[in-house]
């Protein structure tokens, strides 16, 4: 365990306790290094972004243009918008260890030469926001934020911003629009935020869990971190485990840990019932089957199974789960959260939501599964951002994995159609 190690320490959120347990030593070490040396440690660590895409962190840092090429300020943003159903680890994290996030944020700022850093917090996250506010105050008083941090000549300010309470604000380009005071309609890259970010300046956006790994990498070296995980994914993954398990909660495991071990740590399937499926990374990731329990949980292995590690939001579904209802709930969420900017996502999500609703109400038609499949195809890969892709990808995955459940609902229709015909005649 790296970042959740002291989570049970009751006063970890206080600066004194955090420092007693080794906090801000990573920052101290980092400030003794050259920015390029930190980037090199991160490269060696094989740290990947934990916010969903699993993009190698060092590679992302490498796309921040050098100051002589693109002059002007640079920014770092910690992404704590965490709004995907099944994901709650960032909330627990910033409530319990806000300083760990701040420390990581400052290290990233130092590495790319940013003098302003931000944490963007989900609108509904009141308690995490207060925890961070207190932590920032403490750190500022202790000269860990502001001018000449730790007397090492590096200055960086930290500002907290709250989102408007929309899922889409978690997407980096939409988050930047929101920070600029606009509606969070995603931008269409290229250019990517590391080139054209906040107010048009190079901006590094990382999930807060990714940032929290940096103090440990700075303190103990990239190689140490890399050894914990798999050859391509260093360190650990933080999971929010929920659904039909005995002990839902936040768990940290080395990259590559089999899914079975994680579910067992969470007390196994609730009530000892049989397992039907596991959503591995939050509701936007396709479900794994009951026989995928030995799958090593890292970005590439889960991808090999047609799904994503995502943000580690594991939802365990037992044999009683109605998969059509599950996917309807997911699509309902996506259609509610679609920003509305592009047509396939906005209309495809609400249309398929209504079809699923109708099927579950007992008015399914024979053509419904095929139509869902077709509409999903017209959305996937046709939208501005990944939310739209999610609509199509998730729908197709459930249709493919649980065709009988859809067919059963589509089968009731003939009579309904006849009734309609009579009524209309």
């Amino acid at each position: 365990m790296i970042i959740t190690r002291h989570f049970d320490e009751p006063k970890l959120h206080e600066l004194e306790t955090y420092r007693k347990l080794g906090g801000y030593e990573g920052l101290s070490k980092a400030l003794a290094m050259k920015p390029a040396e930190i980037t090199e440690e991160v490269r060696k660590s094989n740290l990947r972004g934990l916010g969903g895409a699993g993009f190698p962190a060092a590679a992302k840092w490498g796309t921040v243009p050098p100051a002589d090429k693109v002059p002007g300020p640079r920014y770092v943003v910690g992404n704590c918008d965490e709004s995907e159903p099944g994901c709650f680890r960032d909330r627990v994290h910033v409530e319990r260890a806000p300083h760990q996030v701040l420390e990581g944020l400052l290290i990233a700022a130092y590495a790319i030469g940013a003098k302003d850093a931000f944490i963007f917090i989900r609108g509904e996250y009141g308690r995490p926001h207060r925890a961070l506010q207190t932590a920032v105050k403490e750190a500022r008083a202790a000269r860990l934020i502001g001018d000449d941090i730790l007397g090492r000549g590096f200055s960086c300010d930290v500002m907290l911003m709250r989102g408007g309470g929309t899922y889409i604000s978690g997407l980096d380009t939409a988050l930047l629009e929101s920070m600029e005071g606009k509606k969070s309609w995603p931008r269409q890259p290229p250019p990517f935020p590391t080139n054209y970010g906040l107010m048009g300046f190079p901006t590094l956006v990382h999930n807060v869990a990714t940032l929290a790994m940096l103090p440990h990498i700075a303190a103990r070296g990239g190689e140490w971190f890399a050894k914990i995980g798999t050859p391509k994914s260093g360190g650990t993954m933080i999971y929010s485990v929920s659904g039909h398990v005995e002990k839902p909660g936040v768990y940290e495991f080395p990259m590559g840990t089999p899914l079975r071990a994680i579910i067992e740590a969470a007390g196994g399937v609730a009530g000892g019932r049989g397992l039907k499926a596991v959503i591995p990374g939050g509701t936007s990731t396709p479900p794994l089957s009951a026989d995928d329990l030995d799958l090593p949980m890292d970005f590439d292995s889960v991808r090999g199974k047609g799904s994503f590690l995502g943000a580690g939001g594991i939802i365990v579904l037992d044999e009683t789960a109605d998969m059509v209802e599950v996917v309807r709930l997911i699509i309902e969420f996506l259609s509610h959260e679609s920003c509305g900017q592009c047509t396939p996502c906005r209309e495809g999500s609400v249309w398929t939501e209504r079809i699923l609703e109708r099927m579950l109400e007992g008015a399914g038609r024979p053509g419904d599964p095929a139509n869902l499949e077709r509409v999903a195809g017209n959305v996937t890969g046709r939208t501005i951002c990944a939310l739209g892709d999610t609509v199509g990808i998730v729908l197709k995955a459930y249709l493919k994995k649980f065709p009988e459940e859809f067919a059963a609902l589509a089968g009731r229709n003939e009579s309904v159609m006849r009734q309609e015909a009579t009524a209309n005649g």
Binding site: Q341, T343, P344
Partner: protein, 509 residues
């Protein structure tokens, strides 16, 4: 320079040119709603997806920049399926109320359904409902249900007019286009949103339910509303006079001209057609000027008779009292053709020296940095080219009134200008002192009853000609309608008088 292959055809284009423009240039239309050459490419409608060799996904052509060696297809089965799919998604919640929609016949949804759609609808769900008729300004009606959220209107108002009256409120499928709190869409360019809205979400309150788009005929013209001379199309409805409250012109639409007006026109110009058929003159009349408030009693003349009488009477008076006592009021409303004959008659032949054509005070109005010019007539420059404003100076209205009062003026020839509008009630008294008053114009106005001769001339839509705008650009306009009654173009009237004047002199000599 980028050498690309478009649907198998080698094409050379500028590096970084947008594929949607490159294709258009090559005669290939790529469907789109949100893209507009003057409003940018948000890429939100996803109608313009095309296939790029080597790219894993279809790419929006409105954001695809041409790169040397690029191979693009706009006609492959994958592209056709994607475009039809995007169209279908636009229509899922669209009310399909075409029979009662004013956009019918010129709607982006109808057009693409016929060209790239033609699928069988798979929609069995209820449609979403929103506000159907919401007046959002003096000229524009909003139907929220029909909106595609292409953001053309919001971008136009935010970036071109910079007034930002409209916004998209709410999120996802629940969002609506609406007025920003406390705003009304009443800027001087509001009508343009109707043109750029690809569907019937924004319709013209004046045009609504007057004529079906397919009954209209269109002629290219130039707006005479100010010295910018914006390109316009005159849309007329003549075959079904019961359709447009009897008005022959149903609407004006901007005609794209990158050198003059781009894609836009102002509301003043756009709605200027409404009065085109009102207060019109159609008869050639000799009048006994009426006492104030009453209509003049007139005798109808043939053009030939009128020309002879006017030439004769003016000739007598000039011989008797001298040409210096005749004043001519005209304006930049004359076409270049009119100005030429105007000069032949009044300067070369009659040797008139008293002119008034300055636009103040009745032909000036608001101006701005987008299109509108202060001078509310189209062709001051055309007059200037012949010396009106340089060699021949314009007197002021005050000076003219003083000259009349002092008895230095015996005659007045007014071309399409409402003297009564400037002088007010004093006009009748002033004109009453004169021996000879001719009024010529398309509209009667307050001056039509104060003259000895009233000559009907054509409105600009009833003649062809050219205007020279404030930048010196010569622009032709075509004839959209037949003249009303006996009306003739101004130049023809001048030429008629001139011919009789010469003939008269010949006889006299």
């Amino acid at each position: 320079m980028a050498r690309i292959t478009l649907n198998g055809r080698p094409i050379e284009t500028a590096d970084g040119a947008l594929m949607i423009d490159v294709a258009k240039e090559a005669g290939i239309h790529i469907p789109h709603y949100c893209y507009h050459p003057a409003l940018g490419n948000p890429g939100n409608c996803r109608m313009c997806l095309v296939e790029v060799q080597g790219a894993p996904k279809l790419q929006p052509a409105c954001r695809l920049k041409a790169v040397d060696g690029m191979v693009v297809r706009t006609d492959s089965p994958a592209v056709q399926a994607a475009q039809a799919g995007a169209l279908e998604l636009h229509l899922v919640n669209h009310p399909l109320d075409c029979p009662v929609c004013d956009q019918s016949g010129e709607c982006g949804l109808q057009d693409y359904y016929m060209t790239i759609g033609r699928y069988k609808s798979g929609v069995a769900e209820d449609k979403r409902h929103m506000a159907k008729r919401k007046p959002i300004g003096p000229h524009v009606m909003l139907d929220q249900e029909r909106c595609l959220w292409c953001t053309r209107c919001t971008r136009f108002l935010a970036n071109v007019v910079k007034t930002a009256e409209l916004g998209i409120f709410g999120r996802g499928h629940g969002q609506v286009v609406d007025l920003a709190p406390g705003k009304v869409l009443d800027n001087p360019y509001s009508g343009n949103v109707v043109d750029i809205c690809p569907v019937g979400a924004l319709t013209d309150r004046d045009f609504r339910y007057k004529v079906r788009a397919w009954y209209l005929e269109s002629v290219d013209s130039v707006c005479p509303g100010c010295s910018r001379g914006c390109g316009v199309q005159v849309h007329t409805s003549t075959k079904r006079p019961w359709h447009n409250e009897g008005r022959r012109v149903a609407r004006l639409k901007p005609r794209y001209n990158p050198e003059v007006n781009g894609h836009w026109i102002c509301d003043e110009g756009r709605y200027s057609y409404k009065t085109l058929d009102q207060d019109r003159l159609g008869k050639v009349l000799r009048l006994r000027p009426a006492p104030a408030g009453l209509s003049a009693v007139g005798t109808e003349l043939s053009w030939d008779a009128a020309w002879k009488e006017i030439a004769g009477r003016a000739g007598e008076l000039m011989a008797d009292k001298g040409a210096g006592g005749l004043a001519v009021i005209a304006s930049g409303a004359l076409s270049n053709e009119d100005w030429r004959s105007f000069k032949k008659l009044f300067v070369d032949s009659w040797k008139v020296v008293q002119f008034l054509f300055a636009p103040e005070p009745d032909q000036v109005g608001p101006e701005d940095s987008l299109l509108r010019r202060k001078e509310k007539v189209p062709n001051l420059k055309g007059g200037e080219a012949l010396g009106f404003g340089t060699e021949f100076r314009s007197m002021s209205w005050d000076a003219l009134a003083r000259s009349i009062e002092a008895g230095r003026i015996w005659g007045l020839y007014v071309v399409d200008r409402d003297v009564a509008g400037v002088w007010g009630p004093a006009a009748a008294g002033l004109l009453g002192r004169l021996d000879f008053v001719v009024f010529q114009g398309p509209f009667k106005g307050g001056t039509g009853d104060l003259a000895h001769y009233r000559l009907p001339s054509t409105a600009y839509v009833e003649e062809e000609g050219s205007f020279t705008n404030f930048e010196g650009r010569l622009q032709r306009y075509a004839k959209a309608l037949a003249p009303l009654g006996a009306a003739l173009p101004d130049w023809e009237i001048f030429e008629g008088i001139l011919a009789r004047h010469r003939a008269g002199k010949g006889e006299a000599l």
